[in-house]
């Protein structure tokens, strides 16, 4: 699992994940992901490069979202694959973190 960080419009942070978010890999990125969500308030999580998502990945997403929201911030999930989006909706994650399919919508979702 790889994680890359980009800054958009000087105050929006885009975290780009690449790799499987399964029980084996989700724990590897958790400390790095936690560091970003602790310090940033407008976070877009790019999921286009994530071909698989299971419970441990959902756990990381929800913990991250709770952290961001507790500090008055927002997170949005950008471009999950159809199967990954099905996991997000089946788990109810989509009701607490918006799923968007283009960058402009993602920026709007975290800037509202």
């Amino acid at each position: 699992m790889e994680m890359r960080i980009e800054t958009i419009n000087s105050n929006v942070t885009k975290i780009i994940l690449k790799g499987r978010l399964d029980v084996l890999c989700a724990q590897q990125i958790e400390p790095h992901f936690s560091a970003v969500v602790e310090s940033q308030r407008k976070i877009i999580l790019g999921l286009q490069g994530v071909p698989f998502l299971a419970s441990m990945g959902i756990r990381a997403l929800i913990i991250g979202t709770k952290t961001v929201k507790s500090k008055g911030g927002r997170m949005a999930l950008l471009n999950p694959t159809p199967d990954v989006e099905k996991v997000l909706t089946a788990s109810g994650t989509d009701t607490v973190v918006p799923i968007v399919h283009d960058l402009a919508s993602a920026i709007a979702a975290v800037s509202a």
Binding site: L24, F52, A54, S55, T65, A90
Partner: protein
Amino acid sequence: MKLGPETLVIRAEIGELAHVVEWTGRLATTWNLPSSTLFAIQLCFEEAVSNIIRHGFADGPREAGVNSDVHLSAERRDNAVAITIADFAPAFDPLGVVPRARPATIQQAVIGGHGIQLMRRFAQHLTYERRDGMNRLTLSFDLPTSGT
């Protein structure tokens, strides 16, 4: 047409799931399965095995004094793939767990506990039985009619 069953025995340890990913990937290639079917199978295996490790052997298999092997099998029929996860942990029927309501707010969102919900969503048929001292969970995945 019937292919398999193919079987894999792993220990009830998280690291063993890497073998499951590799094994199911090979099956998907051999059986010409759609990518969405492979996704569903890998997801359900991961959730089922993770639950066995986390709950079935919560005190550790050595302390529990039971066999910690998890037996996985997969079989392809004309229009479906069936997988079975069998273990020697104490009796537990995951299909008896009441589905959780969707959270309305982030405060209501629960960290963890989504495995059974995901299996219900991604598999078309689920059955459980306790037989010969083992929990046996079988899930079936319908194949697209063009996927033969």
